[in-house]
Amino acid sequence: MSDALLAITLVWGFIFLYAIMASMDFGAGFWAMTYIKKEETNATKIANSYLSPTWEVTNTFVVGLVIAIYSLFPGAVFPIGVALIVPASLILVLLCIRSAFLVFSHSVDKYEKALTYISGLTGLIIPGLLISVLPITHLGFVEGMRGNEELNLFKLFTSPNEYAFVGFGVMSTLFLSSLLLSDYSKQADEMKAYKIYRRDAMITGPLMLVMALLVMLTLRNEANWIYQGMMKNSALLFISLIFFIISGIALYLPYFSKQEVKGMPRLAVIAIIIQYLIGSYVYGIAHLPYIIYPNVTILSGFTDPTSFRAVFATYIVGFAILVPGFYYFWSIFMKDQRRKFKRRQMSN
């Protein structure tokens, strides 16, 4: 594998990880807002308790991702920076308010309601904006010569593909988060909340799939080059569909069986993450060699080889130190949360 390919794999891996983490984070905010009136189900409490410790890591991940892009593909920074200045600034502003209020609401109980609405609304808007980055990179609307690039916003906002992606991003967020929350509330023995989130996942899942089909359909018209590329791996796309069906079965199980079954949300979560992994691999491979179609390729944007080696070495050292640390902390935290829920239930 060439260095540039290794580098883009690393970046794409980060994007995938961030997408999963952020979907769960943002979606949890939305669900907390939706169920704020149904106090007896604990659905909002579950979602909020999931939210609070994750934001810091997710926030840092944004910066880590941006740093990965400009340190590995500095040649792409100028067009990306110009193309994304408006959407990225909007994302920053919303993210900033959301994170700040997450922190403040720990100290000021009056903020809790305001926070739920802020994180709920931003939880829906931010993913829509974030996923718009993809159509911006493949639709070819970044126009102009080197150093004078500009994003044609009119073309972007009249493109059906852009809207298909926004719909797909929002639905994926809701689907992934409801799926994860159903697993999380089952772990915490919150059966009322579990039922609600399982139902949500069963509704948003098929909607997500419809959006994914719309994405493919509009891609064929508007960015045929990437559609053709994806179709070369149609076997993989088919496998990803199988994993979607597996997770569907895991969720719908109680309906098929006469016995008392609760469904298997953990299996559904794993199957869906595999499905997304395959899907994003197929999209990512088809996107190559372009970072931004048709101006920037991974080779034209790639960094200096000496820098690449130095940066790559820091990644290896950094991850070797941090991953065990975070795993350890995460397990402490999850145990702590579960214990807290049990305690709260007993006192109720």
Binding site: S52, P53, E56, V57, N59, T60, V62, V63, G64, V66, I67, I69, Y70, S71, L72, F73, P74, G75, V77, F78, I80, G81, L84, I85, V86, A88, S89, L92, V93, L95, C96, I97, S99, A100, F101, L102, V103, F104, H106, S107, V108, Y111, G147, N148, E150, T303, D304, T306, S307, A310, V311, T314, G318, I321, L322, G325, F326, F329, F333, D336
Partner: protein
Amino acid sequence: MDHIQMARAMFGTNMAVHIIFATIGVGLPMMMLAAELMYQRTKDLQYVVMAKRWTKTLGVLLGVGIPTGTIAGVQLSLLWPGFMEVIGRVMALPFQIEIYAFMVEALFMSIYVYAAEKIKPWARIVSLFFVAFGALASAVLISNVHAFEGTPAGFRFENGEIVDVDPWAAFFNPSFLVTAGHTALTAYTTGAFVVASVAAYKMLKNKYGTAEFNFHQKALRLSIVLGLVFSFLTALNGHATTQHLYREQPEKLAAAEGLFETQDHAGLTLFGYTDREAQEVKYGIEFPWLLSFLSGNSFDTVVTGLNDFPEEYWPPLYVHILFNAMVMIGSGLIALALFALVWNKWLKKETYPKWILWLFVASGPLSVISIECGWIFACTGRQPWTIYRMLTTEDSVTSYENLGFLFTMFIIVYIILCVSVVFTLLYYFKRHSVMDDIYKAEQKGVRLFDSNS
């Protein structure tokens, strides 16, 4: 405003807000660590209460520090893509490592807060040490990018292409140590005086001899000692930084001192403003020969004046005022802390007179102002370059021109954040008094730390 100025104002506003929280975010962990160590020495539970309350404050301040830091990190590529292209090729390491430093800080902070009462004292101190270490490392690494902008190393331009890249030579550029050291020491100084400021204010509000008064006096004493040490070290380091300027960015030093003619036995001018037409500093107080001596340790040192540089390379002349403000506040803080220490240790006074306390109340905001002046001086003093003699600001800026709307949006967000962070701190500490915390600390088996932030 043309769009370069707009971009500079936009990024400058972000930094102006961010550095307040970032600086205190580096300084406070040092104070927390000092309080925990004091507890180990004296076994006085009030020091644990102190550390706990500062931890809570830090947690709230991070609510602005982290988001504004996120904005800074992303906005660099949005507003200055030309600059980041060079940084990405040559100077990516500090940014990379900074992310890990931040993660280390976040991780150990969580361990310190979640598990404080479950782990042994030494483990608590170790985790706090890593919190402070992570915060300090982040500051040092980011300042290193700033150092690189002033004294670039590890690459060359050849026909507009970057060649001979050596990322580690860029990392260890000539002014790395002095610049990063300056950021670190001033952050510790600020941390100490911000604490002193709050403690002195609370002493003024409480009667002499009450438990609450004594608590705050302990905090004030601790911060006076640390404030003195770090402000004095800052002065020594500031001297070294100036000598670096003399050697590596002479026009910046000339602008800071308002020196137009190249000369030996050059004088140092305090106060006043630089008059471009008259080519002198008006209404200043001149100390003859001092500038030459400070720059090269000898009165014969020749200091280059602005007239030896083409005028388009001149930094803006108002940096003289910023430089002065920074130096004067720094010197004032040393004098104040030294006086208070002598008053307490050698004159054996039980407490401090009111006017000293009021001066300490002012010392926190003043040290923050000094930090702001220092950063604005350091960054505008480098103009018209983003990377000294390598890359101009004009070549760094984005080609996107309609920044006005985005700028307005960000300003509104900063106002909301700054107002709500103050409100949050006041609200929380009004409901969680010192006495409550001391009472809780004295009861066995009560959780002192909330499991959040």
